[in-house]
């Protein structure tokens, strides 16, 4: 690990200002992904701003009947919150499908959103990777790409976003509240938080330098059946090959988002509209512009079949 200086932040706006001001500064909260990457020298921050002392660890009701989830709420606490279990079951299910008990006890809501891809070529510093070293090339496209993205890919990057939680938040129309270096706050719909890789896969979000996530807000509950179905190589503690997060209403309408298939949690408005017509129609919309490799082409039928399983469970 490269050496770094360390400070504890005292307020969100001070933290954001310090992060923008100090060269090579990064926030640290749970640290479960950042420290992993620092040990491999994939991340080499010169300065860490520990935000754990900020009072951002509450889940509160909002005036419009939704929930405001503090950025530092641990994954375990979010999944176990009685309101989340009752009204946003999809979010609990997605969280519980991810990582391990130990990791969920440390990992935070904002950190989960901002975790980096688990592409093995991103992790292997001997390999080219446009995300790790812009312009160096992508070893995954002609490499072992079984885990990789099938939609929204570019010639520069086919990495996936690894979060389960973000898939649920996408289907639930969550927004991300932030504070910027100048102290101003804003709310970003989660659909506008992530970027597709394009030619700049190292730029993963629309957040500005120093911008700190302070909360995630959920609109008022929409009812329906909440289902998260994750297909992976082992029964627990593995990243998704394909995951489907869905809210299905009694009349068959609903919303759906996919994990494990793109550089961001994948949702397509036209696919939601096809929900009453079944898995084949929904999958066709979700995967309209799919571009798979020889090794991950299996994900195309897997998405349709996983959708089929989810819709059958919703009916049952």
């Amino acid at each position: 690990m490269k050496s770094f200086t360390y400070e504890r932040a005292h307020s969100p706006s001070e933290a954001a200002a310090a992060a923008a001001r100090i060269d090579g500064a990064k926030f640290i909260a749970g640290g479960t992904n950042l420290l992993d990457l620092m040990k491999l020298q994939i991340e080499t921050p010169a300065h860490l701003i520990d935000v754990n002392g900020l009072a951002l660890d509450k889940i509160e009701a909002t005036s419009d009947g939704g929930l405001r989830i503090g950025a530092l709420v641990r994954n375990t606490d979010l999944a176990a919150d009685p309101r989340v279990r009752r009204d946003y079951g999809l979010l609990s299910r997605a969280l519980l499908a991810g990582a391990s008990g130990q990791l969920r006890n440390m990992a935070t809501t904002a950190g989960n959103l901002l975790q980096r891809t688990r592409c093995p070529y991103f992790y292997d510093t001997n390999q080219p990777c446009n995300k790790r070293r812009p312009g160096s090339g992508c070893a995954a496209i002609d490499g072992f790409s079984r885990q990789h993205a099938i939609v929204g890919v570019s010639n520069a990057c086919i990495a996936t976003h690894p979060s389960d939680m973000a898939v649920a938040l996408m289907a639930l129309d969550a927004s991300v509240e932030t504070v910027r270096a100048d102290g101003k706050t804003r709310s970003v719909p989660i659909g506008e938080l992530y970027r597709l890789p394009g030619e700049t896969p190292h730029v993963e979000t629309t957040l500005e330098s120093g911008e700190l996530i302070t909360a995630v807000t959920l609109p008022k509950p929409v009812g329906g059946r909440h289902i998260y179905h994750k297909v992976r190589d082992r029964a627990s503690y593995a990243f998704a090959l394909v995951s489907v997060g869905a809210v299905v209403q009694r009349d068959g309408s609903g919303r759906v988002a996919l994990g494990g298939v793109a550089h961001k949690p994948w949702r397509v408005a036209a696919a939601d509209a096809e929900m009453p017509r079944g898995a084949k129609a929904v999958a066709a919309r979700l995967l309209a512009d799919a571009k798979s490799t020889r090794e991950n082409a299996f994900k195309l039928p897997l998405v349709e079949r996983t959708l089929g399983a989810v819709l059958a469970e919703a009916r049952g």
């Binding site: 050496s3 770094f4 420290l35 860490l48 519980l96 391990s100 008990g101 130990q102 029964a235």
Partner: protein, 169 residues
């Protein structure tokens, strides 16, 4: 170097640490509590599991400086050779290990798992999210999935945890 105060196994300890020191290295290299093991050092194996402020975490994926003022329980703090913690005794009785390297992490994790179930925290395999989680082998297996045992003592580990869970229930 940064000063860090920890309460480890009931004793207050002051350390002067390089900011890079993980909690795991602080325990093993600075406090010489070598019961907590370094396996993968990347949060994948669970050998470094300790209990901080009542919660199990991977001590390899957190910096010691982030724990100033925290209370840490390691395997050495759960029981002693003369007075084993019930979970330690059950692992011995059920032969819940072979080489023993993952065992301190398994035991710290198992102790916390039973507290998590008692606190009503659901898991991936809980059928009903809003009901109290059950003390079944399926639940225990899922909740222990962050602790890898390369010797494959899993079925005996589950027997040990089940016995302690039953006694507690």
């Amino acid at each position: 170097m940064t000063k860090v105060s920890l309460t480890v196994n009931g004793e207050s300890r002051e350390l002067d640490l390089d900011t890079r020191t993980t909690l795991l290295d602080a325990l093993r290299e600075h406090l010489h509590l070598a019961g907590t093991k370094k396996g993968c050092d990347h949060g994948q194996c669970g050998a470094c599991t300790v209990i901080v402020d009542g919660r199990r975490i991977n001590s390899c994926l957190t910096l010691a400086v982030m724990h100033d003022g925290d209370t840490v329980t390691t395997i050495e703090g759960l029981g002693t050779p003369a007075h084993l913690h019930p979970m330690q005794a059950a692992f011995v009785k059920h032969d819940g290990y072979q080489c023993g390297y993952c065992t301190p992490g398994q035991i710290c994790s198992a102790v916390a798992v039973l507290d998590e179930i008692k606190a009503g925290i659901p898991s991936h395999v809980s059928a009903d999210l809003t009901a109290r989680p059950q003390l079944t082998a399926t639940e225990l297996r899922e909740r222990m999935s962050g602790n890898i045992c390369r010797c494959g003592a899993y079925s005996n580990i589950i027997d040990a945890v089940t016995e302690v869970a039953g006694r507690q229930a």
